[in-house]
Amino acid sequence: MGEGSFVSLVGPSGSGKSSLLRAVIGLQQPLSGTVETVLGPSEIGLLFQDDALLPWKTARNNVALGLTLNGMERGKTLVEADTWLERLGLAGFGDRFPRQLSGGQRKRVALAQVLARRPKLILMDEPFASLDAIVRARVVRDVVALVEGGGISVLLVTHDLEEALTLSDDVYLLSQGPRARITKHYHVPIPRPRDPVHSRAHPDFAALYQRLWADLSDAVDHRVEAA
């Protein structure tokens, strides 16, 4: 993956997409092979479907925690946390506990927690799956803007082919596991900066979507036949 690139992994359930992400961050040991990265652990951020905020910490303290663990001094972390909450449209919500926030707001706090650490790479595992359509569209738009603006690379795992195509520069299709491998690669020529909603209107979008859909269906059909 190159610097600042947005790459998506799509594939049938059980193709090991999530395991791959977990192996990159070191939460899981790969069964074989190695993960090569030039980045240190503090330069990689994680955004999962579950926001996993600490329920006993306020939004501000959740964001600050990520900075404290990076070695930043306590007073500075709180200022920095407020700045990021504001940037994500959560000004004034710093004192709320996760329970007192909506799903979309919690996702934004989790995002602030990741972005505040100024990562070079963010690993995302179905990060928007739990959000309803309108909230999701807004959060996705903000994520794209912040990621493009910060020159951050993203490795996204998703079931949503539209999401993969509108957000990514490159999409990789994984085959059915076990022993899943990358079977197809698609380059997405939609120019940046992108608006995820408008990207769907790009002339190449429909054709790419159909190809991706057909290939993914094939992968799933193979599984059905094998069974």
Binding site: L46, L54, L69
Partner: protein, 250 residues
């Protein structure tokens, strides 16, 4: 339809009615005061306890034993629970012992503590302690093993080491579980203190109760039961406040 806002008022009225009937039946001579003294006699006995000041050393003895046992039980219960949750060997050795202690009515140990520790406060603290410690041990032990894996992974992915995990994940979780069981623990602590005083003592509410029993002084007995009830309810209120404040995120 019952207006839920006035539930307390209806309960109060019901209580007054019950006490009124009790009093009336007692005065009419239908109740043997040896078994069921009227509310006014119980009240008089309670007032007398405070009026001549002889209740204070007993209250102090029971409180010291219960709160001492409670504090000690929480500290030891948390330490053992954390140790067992984090070190498999400790869990292996400790779990069967704790399970047995959990299964038996622990107050049967009271006579043993008297032999070991004498009839002073130490044997009461020990009984309170054993009642509370086993409860807290299981609370913490099962609690830590059920800590949300996602929170642990989150902190690890943010670069947190073992110390950070303890501080930011395990400790707040443990606090939440202990506080959630604080009221039960308070009840256990007073049970331990009072039962210990039944068995052998020179002071304490349990000792007074046992004295009232041996002298067939049922007015004193009711007065003491009422007093213990009020005391424990007061502590419940304090514990509830503490719980609400510290668990306001929940």
């Amino acid at each position: 339809m019952l207006d839920p806002r006035y539930a307390w008022l209806r309960r109060l009225i019901a209580l007054a009615v019950v006490l009124g009937i009790w009093e009336a039946v007692g005065r009419a001579g239908f109740l043997n005061p040896l078994f069921a003294p009227s509310p006014s006699r119980i009240w008089a006995a309670l007032v007398e306890l405070f009026a001549d000041g002889r209740i204070w050393p007993h209250l102090e003895a029971t409180f010291s034993a219960a709160l001492g046992g409670l504090a000690l039980g929480i500290v030891v219960g948390v330490l053992l629970g954390v140790a067992a949750a984090l070190m498999p060997l400790v869990a292996e050795l400790l779990e069967p012992v704790m399970s047995v202690l959990n299964a038996i009515p622990r107050v049967i140990l009271a006579p043993l503590f008297v032999i070991w520790l004498g009839i002073g406060i130490a044997s009461k603290i020990a009984l309170s302690f054993i009642l509370v410690a086993v409860l807290i041990f299981f609370t913490v032990f099962t609690g830590i093993r059920q800590v949300d894996r996602k929170l642990v992974e989150r902190v690890v992915s943010l670069g947190g080491n073992r110390l950070a995990l303890v501080r930011h994940v395990y400790l707040p979780s443990v606090t939440a579980w202990v506080l959630g069981n604080l009221k039960v623990a308070v009840g256990f602590a007073f049970t331990g203190a009072c039962v210990g005083e039944f068995v052998a003592a020179t002071h304490g509410l349990g000792y007074l109760l046992s004295f009232a029993q041996s002298t067939y002084n049922s007015a004193l007995m009711f007065a003491l039961i009422l007093l213990i009830l009020v005391v424990v309810m007061l502590i419940f209120v304090i514990a509830g406040r503490l719980e609400r404040h510290l668990l306001r995120w929940n």
